[in-house]
């Protein structure tokens, strides 16, 4: 039990914070209902994938500054391919774009391994490259998305045996998110590959000496990151119905949520659940600020302060939980 709290305490705390925010929301806007929750889930979708993409590489001891640019590129690619194409063609577009994310992500990893340039520089360079590529694909926002894809995030999923009022709280967007993340993450987390990703992030030298193929693992981590970013890009196209070549605010948001979610930026620690909950928290804060009609100039202050305060609070309780101070 105590180990659970040591390992999952942060996530549990975040979850409590999320519930607390839901209560607040309901108090601010008594009419807040399942439909609004569906909106929240849709707003969360691109952020959640961006954060998943960031989480994987951060756990592996790196950082990916190209997440948002990758989303932009995959988004415009999907949108321009589906433009004027038949509905069925999208069945081909989706796997194509996902494969593209995977390959470009792997390219990030390969460049890091081969050039031995630090992750932050390689992915910064790739940020420009991917942005440039996105501009070549679509010079201005445009393109289209298949109707069935757009429908895939609208509405709710009827779950047999559940009453209608409960179904209403299961938005498709949320189900899509959970399914996509689980398909990749759960088998990974349990596998030797997953352990290897944690290992190279925790201590690369020790990992190498334990026989972990460090280079290959790093490349795979970046490839997975690319895959998640491509999912994020697709979700952008799906929700807006177009592709936009200018990256959205997903880079800094993803880093912030990763840290808020209890993943150490040095690598090796944390999981996917925390950052995803952190994304929900951040989006819900945004909703509350809008519901309260707070002066928009003040919202920046509040968002910044919340981010800092939560992490500070985390640091504070970690300090408190070691009353004797650091052992030598």
């Amino acid at each position: 039990m105590s180990r659970f709290f040591r390992n999952q305490g942060w996530v549990a705390g975040l979850f409590a914070l999320l519930i607390f925010l839901f209560v607040i929301t309901k108090l601010i806007q008594p009419g807040y209902g399942s439909g609004d929750f569906g909106s929240l889930a849709r707003a969360v979708l691109p952020y959640a994938f961006a954060v998943a993409a960031q989480t994987v590489v951060v756990i592996a001891g790196g950082i990916d500054l190209s997440v948002a640019a990758m989303m932009a590129l995959t988004s415009v690619t999907a949108a321009s391919m589906m433009n004027g194409a038949s509905e069925e063609y999208a069945l081909f577009v989706v796997p194509f774009v996902l494969a593209m994310g995977l390959v470009l992500g792997a390219l990030n990893g390969i460049l890091i391994v081969v050039t031995r340039v630090p992750d932050i520089v390689v992915t910064l360079a790739m940020l420009f490259v991917l942005q440039g590529a996105a501009l070549l694909v679509l010079g201005a926002p445009g393109g289209a998305a298949a109707e069935w894809l757009k429908a895939s995030v609208i509405g709710t999923v009827p779950i047999p045996g559940l009453p209608d009022w409960a179904d209403a709280w299961v938005p498709k967007a949320l189900v899509l998110l959970v399914v996509c993340l689980c398909i990749v993450w759960i088998p990974l987390r349990r596998s030797r590959l997953g352990l290897s990703i944690y290992a190279i992030g925790s201590n690369e030298l020790a990992a190498f000496r334990s026989g972990v193929p460090v280079a290959r693992t790093r490349i795979i981590a970046y490839a997975l990151s690319g895959l998640f970013a491509a999912l994020g890009g697709l979700s952008l196209t799906i929700s807006t119905g177009i592709g936009a070549p200018i990256p959205g605010p997903y880079l800094l948001a993803s880093v912030a949520a990763v840290v808020l979610g209890g993943v150490a930026l040095g690598g090796g620690k944390g999981g996917l659940l925390g950052p995803i909950i952190a994304v929900f928290v951040l989006r819900l804060v945004r909703t509350d600020l809008t519901l309260l009609a707070i002066d928009p100039n003040v919202t920046a202050i509040i968002e910044g302060a919340i981010m800092v305060a939560v992490v500070m609070f985390g640091a504070f309780i970690t300090m408190r939980s070691r009353p004797a101070g650091a052992t030598p």
Binding site: S39, A43, K150, I246, P249, T287, L291, A300
Partner: protein, 319 residues
């Protein structure tokens, strides 16, 4: 106090034009006396983020939403949901594709066409032009590009010496013009997408030959057109006060006075300092007390009713 709550969604923060737009919205809401509360979502984000904001405004049960769209087509779903929820939707500055929305917009294509055409005429219909665009991939930029290209097609002897994207950033634009000047390539005119006063600054600083410059009606640039010796140029209006007009339109609709058409275009004007008549216009338009990034056209006749003090105070109802 008024009876309506109006939601506002804007996706660019920290640039003078957008700040003026927000202030115009606030001032107009206050001046109209019909608005109880403004609910403003004003931050840097993309179309998906704007969808989020619009949906949050729907959750907040506003009566109308005035939106400066990040993209004409990208927020269709949100606007449709808003209309379904009985909310009046007005898009300002740019058009949107959602048919149920009302649009009151500056004509970006015309903006570029007007300025470029004047410039090419000043250049005597021939020569090299330095083409300083906005942000690559932004829809307003590509609309303006269409207008520019249209004008270019009418002047076959005018060539684009160099095309750069300023990202609508002052510092980038200045660095670009300085780099370009250093190449020594002769040019006969400069067209800018509204990042204009730093360009004139650079020409003066480098003691480079003055060539005609086209920019927007930003206070700084209008001032330069009046004062900088040897500068020939034109400011094309692109009023940020369109935001106030959007609020007016939304209130009219809420009051049951629907406009004849779904779309109202505010046509740009061109103020140049090559003729006496133009100079007079510029003189009367100049407003040195405004922040140099703010457009001087702080009101739109027939559409806004606030005073200059009100927009400069930048206070909405209840503030």
């Amino acid at each position: 106090a008024g009876k309506y709550t109006i939601g506002i969604s804007n996706t660019v923060q920290g640039n003078g034009w957008r700040e003026e737009m927000i202030c115009a919205m606030k001032a107009q809401a206050l001046a109209s006396g019909e608005v109880a509360k403004l609910n403003i979502a004003h931050r840097n984000t993309d179309a998906a983020g704007q969808l989020e904001d619009i949906r949050n405004l729907i959750s907040a049960k506003v009566d109308a939403i005035v939106v400066n769209p990040a993209d004409p087509a990208g927020i269709t779903a949100g606007l449709e949901e808003a209309t379904k929820a009985g909310i009046v939707v007005v898009a300002v500055d740019q058009a949107v594709t959602e048919p149920s929305a009302y649009i009151i917009s500056n004509n970006q294509e015309q903006y570029a066409y007007l300025g470029a055409k004047w410039l090419f005429q000043q250049m005597g219909g021939k020569g090299e032009v330095f083409y300083m665009r906005g942000a690559a991939g932004a829809s307003a930029d590509s609309d303006r590009d269409k207008g520019f290209k249209k004008a270019l097609a009418e002047f076959p002897d005018v060539k684009v010496a160099q095309e750069v994207f300023t990202g609508w950033q002052q510092d980038q634009a200045k660095q670009q013009i300085l780099s370009f000047l250093a190449t020594g390539t002769p040019i006969n005119g400069i067209w800018t997408s509204g990042i204009d006063n730093v360009i004139v600054d650079a020409l003066v600083e480098q003691q480079a030959p003055m060539v005609p410059v086209v920019g927007a009606d930003n206070a700084g640039f209008v001032g330069q057109l009046n004062t900088v010796k040897g500068l020939v140029g034109a400011a094309v209006t692109n009023p940020g006060s369109i935001g106030g007009a959007g609020v007016t339109l939304a209130l009219q609709i809420l009051d049951g006075k629907k406009p004849a058409q779904q779309t109202v275009l505010v046509e740009p004007q061109l103020w140049e300092n090559a003729t006496n008549e133009g100079k007079a216009k510029l003189k009367s338009a100049a407003d040195p007390s405004l922040s140099p990034e703010w457009p001087v056209s702080i009101s739109i006749p027939d559409w806004t009713t606030y005073t200059k003090d009100q927009i400069v105070a930048c206070k909405g109802p209840g503030e």
